[in-house]
């Protein structure tokens, strides 16, 4: 229920600052100031709801999803008022506004392990398609990997490095997060011989 208090003189107009999003059914009680006689009745009232700065609220309301970098939602931060940008309320509002971007938490951009490189040389078009099929302990590595034109490998989950080879990349992966790559179970007498007969 929205309760508004206000007063107006000369006519029945009332101007108060409110912040409201949603559908409102209005029942007004009009008290003519000149008489002091209270007249209760239902009426149709045109209401314009404004935000705190008295700007029409339509742009800020509604379920439209914003995207980081979308200039339609840019409100440049005043460097002298950073304090206002670092409140818990602002944190909550940002999470609500950028729900589209937050989906990336669960769906990081997936380009697989295929890279298409292209270059031009003496008027010729060069196209190189490189695909990797990587496993560690028989389990696939599926994060996004790309190959640069210099032939180095960049793995998106290790963002500060490029590697001379995919093998180096996987070694680094194991080094960085050993808890994600538990020690393999002992493979017994036959495991490490790659088809070679056991020796006695």
């Amino acid at each position: 229920m929205l309760v508004m208090f206000g007063s107006g003189e000369g006519d029945d107009s009332v101007s108060i600052a409110v912040k409201f999003t949603g559908t409102v059914a209005l029942r007004a009680a009009v008290v003519p100031a000149a008489t002091g006689v209270q007249i209760r009745h239902q009426t149709t009232v045109k209401v314009t709801i404004h935000n705190a700065r008295m700007q029409p609220v339509e742009q800020a309301a509604g379920p439209e999803l914003a995207c980081i970098g979308d200039p339609r939602h840019a409100v440049a931060m005043d460097l002298d008022r950073v304090d206002e940008a670092v409140s818990p309320g602002e944190q909550a509002a940002a999470v609500e506004r950028y729900q589209t971007d937050l989906r990336r938490l669960h769906e990081p951009h997936q380009h697989g392990n295929t890279t298409v490189r292209s270059a031009s040389y003496r008027g010729h078009s060069i196209r190189v398609v490189t695909s990797y099929d990587i496993e560690v302990d028989c389990l696939p590595v599926t994060g996004h990997l790309l190959v640069t034109n210099e032939g180095t490998v960049h793995y998106h989950a290790i963002p500060n490095q490029e590697f001379a080879s995919a093998v180096d990349m996987v070694k680094r992966m194991i080094d960085l997060a050993p808890e994600q790559f538990p020690e393999p179970a002992p493979m017994g007498n036959h495991g490490d011989h790659h088809g070679q007969p056991d020796t006695v």
Binding site: I68, G69, D70, P71, H73, A74, V75, A76, M77, D78, L79, V82, D83, E84, A85, V86, S87, P88, G89, E90, Q91, A92, A93, A94, V95, Y98, Q99, D101, L102, R104, L105, H106, P108, H109, H111, V116, R117, L139, P140, V141, T142, G143, L146, T148, N149, E150, H154, H156, A157, I158, P159, N160, Q161, E162, R172, M173, D175, L176, A177, Q180
Partner: protein, 329 residues
């Protein structure tokens, strides 16, 4: 009011306040953000202000720029492109602001770690810096002592809840949490002062086409994809991530408070460059090959606030902070 950002190894009070503030932000749930708000399935667990910064960084890293025609070298909304320096300056401004709020100290300036000074030491000695002591930000391996110590039965102790699965690249949540993990010096040595000076002296332009990880220019040398002179491995900023290792490796690297100390020093080096060459930024808005998200007037948004900024606005932030000293060259 402009604050002074100090050298963390030269200011005991700043070091103590940084540790105190980070721990408070780890326990700050006032925004009401939960795992359900972030579209994780299952019960709703509160997400701290500190962890919301981790999430923002991960999301930016997973936002190709431009999105409809991804750069073949993996440029994203915060890295491997021109916006790298202003994007992280914005992040540090907001982080510093939250530290000021939670510490109730508007004079607090985010400290920086002059990693090049430690890089001038012999590699075996680099991890013996005071930064990695219990009186600093804790040490090597699983961090079980110092301000960010993990204590299994103390829910107030520092613990990681969000991490990246390296096999799949997926963002993961672990309600129980675990200790911060570092591998100091296991894969590289720290950059040296001479490398910082060389970047400042030799790179007279900010960036250049194709505005990615192969572009000549100051931004790319400082970010660490191109090297001057060419050296093996990663360059300045990147090499600090590699040198610390562990949780500084994946896209969730803001999990380690050392992330902010590294980037504050990167920002300080950038400020030194602009002091000498002017507050220059490329690409401008009209260049036909300039990628959206990296141009001078493009919007930089945040998952921390609805306020936004732009590279242009980040070029001069003297009204907010300055550094006690800038790298001289």
């Amino acid at each position: 009011m402009a604050v002074i950002r100090p050298n963390i190894l030269a200011d005991d009070a700043a070091r103590a306040k940084f540790g105190q503030g980070v721990k408070l932000l780890k326990q700050d749930f006032a925004a009401g953000v939960t795992t359900q708000t972030l579209a994780f399935s299952g019960p709703a667990f509160p997400v701290s202000t500190y962890d919301q910064f981790v999430i923002w960084h991960f999301v930016a890293m997973n936002t190709p720029t431009p999105e409809n025609a991804p750069n073949p070298r993996g440029r994203n909304a915060a890295h491997r492109g021109s916006v790298f320096l202003p994007w992280h300056r914005f992040m540090l401004l907001l982080f510093e602001g939250h530290l000021q709020r939670i510490l109730m100290d508007p004079t607090f300036g985010l400290p920086y770690w002059d990693w090049a000074a430690d890089g001038d030491l012999d590699p075996p000695d680099q991890s013996n810096s005071g930064l990695w002591m219990d009186t600093g930000i804790g040490g090597d391996g699983s961090v079980n002592s110092g301000p960010f110590a993990f204590i299994a039965d103390d829910l107030q102790s520092f613990r990681l809840h969000f991490y990246q699965d390296l096999r799949t690249g997926q963002f993961m949540y672990d309600q129980a949490g675990r200790a911060l993990f570092r591998q100091l010096g296991s894969a590289d040595s720290l950059p040296k002062t001479a490398e910082v000076i060389d970047a400042l002296q030799s790179q007279t332009s900010y960036d250049s086409s194709d505005w990615d990880s192969a572009s000549p220019g100051f931004r790319n040398v400082v970010e660490g994809w191109s090297y001057s002179p060419p050296t093996a491995g990663s360059g300045l900023h990147n090499r600090v991530h590699v040198w610390i290792g562990g949780d500084m490796g994946p896209g969730t690297s803001p999990n380690d408070p050392a992330f902010y100390l590294n980037h504050c020093n990167v920002d300080r080096i950038w400020e030194s460059w602009m002091t000498s060459y002017g507050r220059l930024y490329e690409p401008g808005p009209m260049l036909p090959d300039a990628p959206a998200g990296h141009r001078l007037n493009d919007t930089i948004a945040s998952l921390i606030t609805t306020a936004t900024t732009s590279p242009e606005q980040m070029l001069n932030v003297g009204s907010r902070y300055s550094y006690d000293t800038l790298p001289a060259f």
